[in-house]
């Protein structure tokens, strides 16, 4: 698989995962770029020991984990527990609310839910994060519960 094809296929996914983690558009773009620079530099040495998607998401999420270390930019502040139900939100507002909710999770939880929303199988997520499959399953369940509470309070779900 050549680099251009890899970039075209995975850059939107990587960007969304970075955005989910960092909740900052410009920073997410930079992280996406850094990820693909690392992919380009190491593509020749990639030995197909894991899926290429697992390899790329490992690089992307590891970049994310290091990113907060470099910039002190923290995610948005605490959301009030009970938020007033909005009249009619645009899809952009819903997306921003989702990012805000995710940014309140712990670092590993942010990575896990971003990969879940990217439709990655749980086994692959376990291989990216470095936890057991059972542990990932429990984590996903807890994260979904946390998000469901926030979204229900916000009047998003029926």
């Amino acid at each position: 698989m050549d680099f251009e094809a890899i970039y075209l296929q995975y850059s939107p996914q990587v960007f969304r995962v970075c955005m989910g983690y960092i909740n900052d558009y410009e920073h997410a773009r930079d992280l996406t770029q850094e990820t693909f620079i690392a992919v380009w530099q190491n593509l020749a040495s990639f030995r197909n020991e894991s899926n290429i998607s697992t390899w790329i998401f490992r690089i992307a999420t590891n970049n994310c984990l290091r990113a907060l270390e470099r910039s002190k930019k923290q995610p948005t502040g605490e959301l009030p527990f009970h938020l007033p139900a909005p009249q009619e939100e645009t899809i952009e507002e819903k997306l921003q609310f989702l990012y805000n909710c995710i940014s309140e999770l712990e670092e590993t939880e942010r990575i896990i839910i971003s990969l879940v929303l990217e439709d990655l199988p749980q086994a692959e997520i376990a291989g990216i994060v470095g936890m057991s499959h059972a542990n990932i399953r429990v984590k996903i369940h807890r994260i979904k519960e946390k998000l469901a509470i926030k979204f229900k309070d916000h009047g998003q779900f029926r």
């Binding site: 850059s11 955005m19 770029q33 530099q41 270390e69 819903k94 997306l95 469901a148």
Partner: protein, 193 residues
């Protein structure tokens, strides 16, 4: 949660069209490569050049005193240390290991510990070698003239004292604060696994 599909729908609505195209991406890679390469390679080249000059001086200037020979040896060893640490960090810059997030956090913790070790041990050893080497090296050149000897040693001692007592502690304080914060954050993340 029954609404995971709703969340996925929202999630996938993120605008990714403004991401750079493949041509722009390749340009960014080339730019990144040249700037990073230039910076780090220049540092390695300077370290090699410095060590090379020190070795060349040994052959060009035939010293007669043992103190000069020991001084030369100290400075050459310090030069090799500088080259070795820079080449090591150059390798780290380009190699991306296929780590899971957990392994990566463990690796970062190790890197931070290595940095602390470098500041506390390697840098002290290198700087000590250079200081001792310099003090021994100049003796042969100035020992015949008392005033010149006093002036040379006063100047060298002042220079080394500024490095040891002002520049190094200041740089270390800045680095230590940063490293301490980073290690605390890594420990916090590693507890999540």
């Amino acid at each position: 949660m029954d609404n995971l599909d709703d969340l996925k729908k929202i999630w996938h609505s993120a605008d990714t069209h403004s991401l750079p195209g493949t041509v722009q991406m390749m340009q960014a890679i080339r730019k990144y490569r040249s700037s990073k390469l230039m910076k780090k390679t220049a540092l390695v080249a300077a370290a090699i050049l410095l060590t090379g000059v020190s070795i060349a001086v040994v052959f060009i200037y035939k010293s007669v005193m043992l103190s000069t020979r020991i001084g030369e040896a100290c400075m050459i060893i310090a030069g090799f240390m500088l080259v070795f640490t820079n080449i090591k960090s150059l390798g780290r810059l380009y190699r991306v290991k296929d780590f899971t997030n957990k392994e990566f956090i463990d690796y970062l913790e190790q890197v931070q510990r290595n940095r602390i070790y470098y500041h506390n041990k390697t840098q002290v050893a290198g700087l000590s070698l250079v200081s001792i080497g310099l003090l021994l090296y100049i003796y042969e050149a100035v020992h015949n003239n008392l005033y010149l000897c006093i002036a040379a040693y006063a100047f060298t001692a002042a220079y080394l004292l500024v490095i040891w007592l002002v520049i190094r502690p200041r740089a270390y304080k800045r680095q230590a604060k940063k490293l301490d914060g980073e290690i605390k954050r890594m420990l916090l993340i590693s507890k999540q696994f």
